[in-house]
């Protein structure tokens, strides 16, 4: 397999983008990446998208988006793995380049959620319909059960969960692309409306529109496009049982751990080698579970990480410097690519006020559903 580099990135602002359609969002992000690399063609387009069919009634995104980018004719397809669709699209793009099949691939993610769809119902299609959704559960409900299990097993409190939101909003306030560029206090989080006990509104990521795109090429061709390429040292994925009831331990995300073990092995690094990490904090409890499964802290010890500053900017291993899904926003199909873009910028020293000093190795972890799929990329500055 060839070594693969990311050479350019583009991303819309995340938020309620009432003036932009799905195709507008994609074209904006993709064009920015193409312009950055001064590329006028790609060999393939891979787009991650969870549910355009339900959100805006549009399937068959490959040709649609290639056409609107002015690239009809180019091979283009959509990849789906619920909220991990973006990470999955990057992985497919990575494999296309690594295999030698393509030399320049646009890997993108897009989601248009604010267009009238019943968002809660659409997102619930990422859970097990027969064993979970038909019985009335929603995603906040599933993560609330994970939170309850974590509280029972490890003594985690609602305030511990809230500390994650406080930290990520502090980071997001520094991110010009974030949906919520404002800080929140622990008191505000704890006073926000109850969504699914113990999860309150400010424990949940928002409903967002947005798109993100990166350009991939073989590492030995990267200098054609940029003098600051970032190498993909590992791309790994894993799955776990869809239904929470089928998992051995509700409070632990097996797919995240399995994908991390594979990624660490491929990259030849361990959690202690990471300088900056983006994890899938669709709910604050998810960040706590993810940092445990990634081995950044011991299992059961995730509850103190945000409050102690371990995972804050300036801490030992800053997590979600972008603001995370919580503050930056979570256009589900775009999230996996956006996470990788944050690491890409951090490793290039281009993260502005959020810059982690001397960051050389970073990890992005993207998750589908209630953790049934996980995709991890480890990147390194070259």
């Amino acid at each position: 397999m060839r070594e693969v580099a990311i050479v350019a990135a583009g991303m819309t602002k995340f938020g309620e983008l009432w003036g932009s359609s799905l195709r507008d969002l994609f074209v904006e992000a993709a064009s920015e990446a193409l312009t950055m690399a001064r590329a006028d063609h790609v060999d393939a387009i891979v787009v991650g998208n969870m549910s355009a069919g339900q959100f805006v009634g549009q399937e068959h995104l490959g040709p649609l988006l290639a056409d609107h980018l002015g690239m009809a004719g180019t091979p283009a397809m959509r990849v789906e793995s619920a909220c991990a669709s973006g990470g999955a699209a990057l992985r497919v793009g990575f494999l296309e380049v690594a295999s030698g099949a393509c030399d320049l691939v646009l890997a993108a993610g897009v989601e248009k959620m604010n267009d009238g769809g019943d968002v809660t119902a659409v997102l619930a299609t990422a859970a097990d319909q027969e064993n979970e959704v038909y019985h009335g559960i929603t995603f906040p409900g599933l993560y609330a059960m994970i939170a309850r299990a974590h509280m029972t097993a490890h003594g985690t409190t609602a305030e511990d969960l809230a500390a994650v939101a406080v930290k990520n909003h502090r980071h997001g306030a520094l991110n010009p692309k974030a949906q919520f560029r404002r800080e929140v206090t622990l008191e505000e989080v704890m006073a926000s409306s109850m969504v699914a006990e113990p999860l309150r509104l400010l424990h949940c990521s928002p409903v967002s529109d947005g798109a993100a795109a990166v350009l991939l090429c073989p590492l030995d061709q990267a200098k054609r496009y940029t003098d600051r390429p970032v190498k993909i040292r590992a791309s790994a994925a894993a799955t776990a049982p869809m239904a929470l009831a089928d998992r051995k331990n509700l409070a632990f995300l097996d797919a995240v751990q399995l994908s991390a073990q594979r990624a660490y092995k491929l990259a030849g690094v361990g959690p202690a080698d990471l300088h900056v990490v983006e994890v899938h904090d669709c709910f604050t409890i998810a960040e706590i579970c993810c940092i445990e499964a990634l081995g950044l802290v011991e299992p059961g010890k995730g509850r103190d990480a945000a409050r102690s500053g371990l995972t804050a900017l300036g801490g030992k291993v800053p997590v979600n410097t972008s603001g995370g899904l919580k503050s930056k926003g979570h256009p589900v199909g775009a999230t996996g690519i956006a996470q990788v873009i944050e690491i890409f910028e951090q490793l290039r020293g281009a993260a502005g006020d959020r810059q982690v000093k001397n960051a050389r190795i970073g990890l992005a972890q993207n998750m589908g559903g209630s953790g049934a799929s996980s995709v991890i990329h480890i990147l390194e500055r070259v």
Partner: protein, 348 residues
Amino acid sequence: MAGIVGYGAFIPRNRITSEEIARQWGKDPAAIQRGLLLKEKSVPGLDEDTITISVAAGRAALDRAGIDPSRVGALYIGSESHPYAVKPSGTVVIEALGIGPSVHVADFEFACKAGTEAMFVALGLVESGRVEYAMGIGADTSQGAPNDALEFSASAGGAAYLFGKADLLADVKATYSYTTDTPDFWRREGEFYPRHGGRFTGEPAYFKHVTAATRGILERTGLKPTDFRYAVFHMPNGKFPLAVGQALGFTKKQLETGWLVQTMGNTYSGSSPTGLAAILDEAAAGDLILITSFGSGAGSDSFVFEAKPALVERRGRAPTVRSMLDGPRRYLTYGQYAKYREKIIVNE
């Protein structure tokens, strides 16, 4: 020069608190009060509707003007709760007020903007000389579906404005309207309750149109926010008018007199016109007043008024808005409210 020669408002006596509604649906009352800044709202009685509210407000306007009703050449009522789908509200109102039959009458609908729409047309006819006096009314018994966020705000009330060219209570200095096709909120024929696009009703609808109309009228008149003593913006909830007012550069002090929504609710077509009436109840001669309405669909009308000395002399001829908001009230249980709003389905 044309302007307001009489005005009046009416708010029903029944109230229901946000707490009572929240309790019914298992919602957190504190979160509602904090999020929407709504404490209670007016509720129409079983014998109150857009017509009775219009009659009460129109009578107060005629009392303040002190003119012979037969001189009113046009009467328009803006509402999204006209009691009849076919047959005007205005015909009942003119008969009750002693206006006509030599009079032009029409019912208007433009979601929550219909009241200022009626005022705009009435003013234009007076300015043109087509009629001597014209009345524009905004009144509603608004609909909000059970367990919808609208249920905390949709209330009942209205205000009437009589326009003429002599003995002005307030001079109209300028108007400005801003309209686009923005379907943020609607009710189709035959449906009981409106539907809305959730958060789409905020930034791209309310804030865009209110901001554009207000900026437009400021530009047209060369006035600055600091030139005004009072301003009132359409009040779909407590938060929006304060947020848009402050973003436009108005202070809380300029906004507080017309900001009635916390205890009145959203009287839809009657909302900003009733806020204007509360301002006229206390304004001094020479005060400049800004009003910007908003109607879903969507559009905003802005008016700049200047209070005249006659306002101070005449306003005592009819009840003030505050006397109706703060005066005798009857608090309903959710059950009584459901009955009054005919939410309980019974056999014929």
